[in-house]
Symmetry: C2
Subunit: 323 residues, 2 copies
């Protein structure tokens, strides 16, 4: 089985690559080769099967054609201009997130075969006001260009699938916590920062109040969602191929309590409250809770708890212990 | 006030043009000129203000730029490849219905002004299974390429509006009954045929059972929706700019009873049942009923009854009497 991963250098992409290299199989089929693609060629990991790594621009129509020329059996499409950049650079967001995705779908159609296509969408397809828990039949009313680009891509994926051009599924990932690496400027970054930095023995700023609630999954679980989406029998899914992934709905206060339980109160004491008006305003428009009934029924499984999400980070990123 | 109507030669477009020529005003503002555009240049009606009529291809990117160069105050965008053709000619459907619409929006953005843009969407953005009455928060899950193209266009309109590039509103029209003219091959054509042909003293075929329920509006009411959408204060509408228009939900049996009441039993006797397997299958996936609460609250008003819809046809198309 040949696999193509577009956006392989991103945080979720790297988790997926590592997992596939370790598993050597996808479902019950042996992986025979893997192609990794990103804007800059991703690092090639150790693997028992051949891996090729390519860099390029997905908004170039010829790029998608080259990528699918070898007719990979499974295509993971994770590449995107992130939401902040898509909001400030309107043209670039549409060029990459919408046109790039459509060109990929079209290149697959032109190859005239039937691969599985797994596309990472986002809960940014939703916009306030929300019900208490957003169900599988709630409308897409994005409040960002990024959300519109993801919602349109979902619709295209469903149409290409319905027409038999490929076998697609779009999965809407929760906010990923704990993102490894350094703090970034993403408005949602604090959800990771307030756990990751104290685990590193460093101070973290909390820009919102402790009763802010959000929808989360660990990087490990995000990789599991992608693999499940690639191997699932989609006949039973029907034509609605965009699925909200199960997450856990927790408040900032519950996150801090979990940090205390897992890492001790002296770590939790490293969180300093510094309210940020802009971030508070943005967060107030974000989804807080979902009822991801369809995905759950189809075997997608959320993280167990925020405590477990913290333990996953300690295990995967800190070598199993807190220094 | 200058008005541009794209798709002015279509059935709803002609009703809108006639109404504006008669009103001479749009809301409380005098109409100073009107430009009509369609694939072939529309007929120029009599009017007290200057009208120019143009033909061309909206999928040509330069066409939209030319159309908005004069900075019309209100732009009605009604042009589309119809659902049947968009389904059989995949590329043409996307080229006109999605790319053509996006190019129009982009041409307006490049003009750097703030017109009102009224876009006709469709209840084809929805797909079965449905609740008993489809509410304003129900998901878009189209089961046709046409529906996907309309749903993506709605999302783009909302984003261009949110970014301040224009002041847009998308209205999802019910099925229009009674369509004037001759029977056509559209799968939904029978909803009009079973009323229009008997009113002309001719036989009509009924391909479905009498308990089939559907969502309808008259051509006159469709034109009223467009005018209300062009003049409504949109500040109160908020960012969700795609509205399901109010219609009436009636069964085929109720339509035939109304025909008897308005035109007599001998007209209703001209309907001959001839079940069609394909049409029955298509119809089973169509929406039957909506709760168009938001549009109703914003002052969009449905037809009063199917009896009234028949009377509107007699009045507007048959000179007020049945021959």
């Amino acid at each position: 089985m040949e696999i193509l991963i577009i956006g392989a250098a991103g945080m979720v992409g790297r988790k997926l690559v590592d997992r596939l290299c370790a598993d050597v199989k996808l479902g019950d089929r042996q992986i025979t080769s893997m192609t990794l693609f990103d804007y800059a060629a991703p690092e090639e990991p150790e693997a028992v099967f051949p891996i090729s790594s390519l860099g390029g621009d997905l908004s170039d129509p010829a790029q998608a054609t080259r990528l699918v020329a070898g007719r990979p059996d499974v295509i993971f499409h994770l590449a995107a201009v992130v939401s902040g950049e898509a909001e400030t650079d309107f043209d670039k967001g549409y060029l990459v997130n919408l046109d790039g995705t459509r060109q990929l779908f079209e290149a697959i159609r032109q190859q005239d075969y039937f691969p599985r296509v797994v596309f990472t969408s986002s809960i940014a397809v939703f916009g306030a006001p929300y019900p208490d828990a957003i169900g599988d039949e709630f409308l897409n009313a994005p409040l960002s260009s990024y959300g519109v680009q993801k919602a349109c891509s979902e619709l295209l994926l469903m149409d290409y699938t319905r027409k038999g051009f490929f076998d697609g599924i779009a999965i809407r990932l929760p906010t990923i916590v704990i993102r490894p690496g350094r703090p970034n400027k993403a408005a949602s970054g604090f959800f990771s920062n307030i756990l990751r930095e104290p685990l590193n023995g460093e101070e973290a700023l909390l820009p919102v109040s402790r009763d802010v609630r959000h929808w989360m999954a660990s990087p490990k679980t995000a990789a599991s969602f992608l693999i499940h989406a690639a191997t699932l029998d989609l006949q039973s899914v029907g034509p609605r191929r965009a699925l909200t992934m199960p997450g856990i709905s927790v408040t900032v206060g519950e996150m801090i309590e979990a940090l205390e339980r897992v890492a001790g109160p002296e770590r939790a004491a490293l969180i300093r409250e510094e309210p940020d008006e802009l971030i508070n305003r943005l967060v107030s428009g974000w989804p807080r809770n979902f009822d991801a009934a369809r995905a759950t029924q189809l075997g997608f499984a959320a993280d167990v708890s925020i405590d477990e999400i913290i333990r996953i980070h300690i295990d995967e990123e800190l070598g199993g212990t807190i220094k």
